[in-house]
């Protein structure tokens, strides 16, 4: 990877107050993410994966440790959660352009960009639909497009396909890797699926049981573009076994 990291996380700890002296969610987590890298975070539930993303997004202050962005104090962030979290009172296109609206960028160019974005996620023609009329997969594609439209420096994805059925999920993997390749973004994605991590990531971080620590930092040296069939190669199998062993 290139020399200077885009993001450096150093000895990050998070303790949530509770009755018995505080619940330690993260324990001195350190890692780096390089520009345009796609990093997946794997770990048992409760290991603090979402907590890491929330700290990076500025939604939560860490108890100790630091987060350093080479691009400046607070980069532009695009975030996707397990649920699409569309605003039900906004049409699809209005949901998509929300980040531009908040940044005061509602120009003609922005509207054109929104059109391109609808194309990119395959939702051309659904601009004026209400969110209630979308399927889970479509809503999640809107959410991904919304996370990209303001050209963020960092994409944070928290189990974005967790609520989708298996078929839709695998289609979304292909779409997401296309988008990532087209847009050249730095991505940090939480998942609990080993296949998902290996299909998408350049590198996989495995967290331990609570309190979360980085247990394994694994390069995924699989050729791109990755197709379905890659899952049946011995390389893939070897990496999957390594991850499986680390997760325990």
């Amino acid at each position: 990877m290139s020399a200077a990291p885009f993001l450096t996380v150093r000895e990050l700890s998070a303790v949530f107050p509770d009755k018995n002296g505080g619940l330690r969610a993260l324990d001195e987590v350190s890692f780096e993410v390089y520009p345009r890298e796609f990093v997946c975070v794997l770990g048992p539930s409760g290991s603090g994966k979402s907590t890491i993303l929330r700290i990076l997004a500025g939604l939560l202050a860490p108890t100790a440790g630091e987060v350093i962005f080479s691009a400046g104090p607070q980069p532009k962030i695009g975030m996707v959660f397990q649920e699409a979290n569309l605003m039900p009172w906004r049409s699809v296109i209005k949901n998509l352009t929300l980040p531009l609206e908040l940044a005061g960028l509602e120009t003609e160019a922005a509207r054109e960009k929104a059109g391109d974005m609808m194309d990119l996620v395959g939702l051309d023609g659904f601009e004026e639909y209400w969110p209630r009329d979308l399927s889970g997969g479509m809503a999640q594609r809107v959410a991904i497009a919304r996370a990209l439209i303001h050209d963020p420096d960092l994409l944070l994805l928290d189990e974005p396909f967790g609520s989708l059925d298996a078929l839709t999920r695998e289609r979304m993997w292909t779409e997401l890797s296309h988008i990532w390749q087209a847009k050249q973004k730095t991505v940090l994605m939480v998942t609990h699926s080993i296949s998902e991590a290996l299909f998408l990531a350049d590198r996989v971080l495995v967290l331990t049981q609570r309190p979360g620590k980085v247990k394994l930092d694994l390069e995924v040296e699989l050729p791109r573009p990755r197709k379905e069939e890659i899952r049946y190669t011995p390389q893939f199998g070897r990496l999957a076994r390594k991850l499986k062993k680390a997760i325990g």
Binding site: A57, G58, L59, F81, P88, W89, L102, H150
Partner: protein
């Protein structure tokens, strides 16, 4: 919070022939009871007598005067009550401390029957319009406050986090998230408040007034002009329905995005 059955009832009556027929049958029954019941007109006037009294009150201008006064009291009371309840409700929803400080008063104010303190308000603020506006505002206040609190509290945390991750300002969060998210429940409260405000004005006028539909009812009763009482009551019903309808229209206009089945 949401009387769904009531809404569907009111939205379908426009095309509901069965409903219209039932209404006509009701009036017919009323007419028959007055005509053949052997009751004097000051107990039960017939629909025709009421209609003629209505026309007379209309032509001599008294109905406009009194309905106008009552409507004015209702509108100002509704405005003041709903506005202050919305602002306070928003603050209460945002601050648990404020909620704890205010909750004894809010609970107590709900336990006090407004009818019982209306005389007090008229003693303190005089028999003019001000005391009626005040009673209206007080009666509207609580349902709007409660629904504002519930509506604002129900704003999904996930959407809040989304806004924060996009670096939205507090003002943007208010305008683009909290207001639209709370609007359905808020309008439900306003609909209840609109109906209650009519009751508030009449209570105030009963206690002491020299104008208004409540005053007209008192006059009719005193002069055994029962047809006039009917006219005033029907006018009040019409006012309440119009107010209710305006809020229902606002709901239909602003909540098109809601699932309507």
């Amino acid at each position: 919070m949401e009387p769904k059955h009531l809404r569907s009832l009111t939205t379908t009556t426009g095309r509901n022939w069965l409903g219209l027929a039932s209404l006509a049958a009701g009036i017919l029954a009323w007419w028959a009871a007055a005509r053949f019941g052997g009751l004097p007109a000051f107990i039960l006037p017939s629909p025709i007598q009421v209609w003629m009294r209505f026309v007379r009150a209309l032509t001599d201008g008294s109905l406009f005067l009194h309905a106008g006064v009552t409507l004015f009291e209702i509108l100002i009371g509704l405005l003041v009550g709903a506005l202050s309840a919305t602002v306070l409700g928003y603050l209460v929803a945002k601050s648990r401390t404020l909620e704890r400080v205010l909750s004894p008063y809010l609970v107590a104010s709900q336990a006090v029957p407004l009818v019982a303190i209306a005389p007090l308000l008229v003693i303190w603020f005089g028999p003019g319009m001000f005391s009626k506006v005040l009673i209206c505002a007080l009666i509207v206040f609580f349902p709007v406050l409660v629904n504002t609190v519930v509506g604002v509290r129900a704003v999904p945390t996930a959407l809040h986090n989304l806004m924060l991750s996009l670096r939205a300002t507090p003002r943007q969060i208010l305008l683009k998230l909290e207001i639209p998210a709370a609007l359905p429940v808020f309008l439900g409260g306003l609909r209840i408040g609109a109906t209650l405000s009519v009751i508030g004005a009449v209570i105030g006028e009963f206690v002491g007034a020299d104008k208004g539909l409540g005053f007209l009812i008192n006059v009719g009763r005193g002069q055994f002009d029962t047809a006039l009482v009917f006219v005033a009551v029907f006018t009040l019903i019409a006012l309440a329905l119009v107010l209710y309808g305006i809020v229902a229209l606002a709901e239909r206009r602003f909540l098109v995005w809601q699932d309507t089945n």
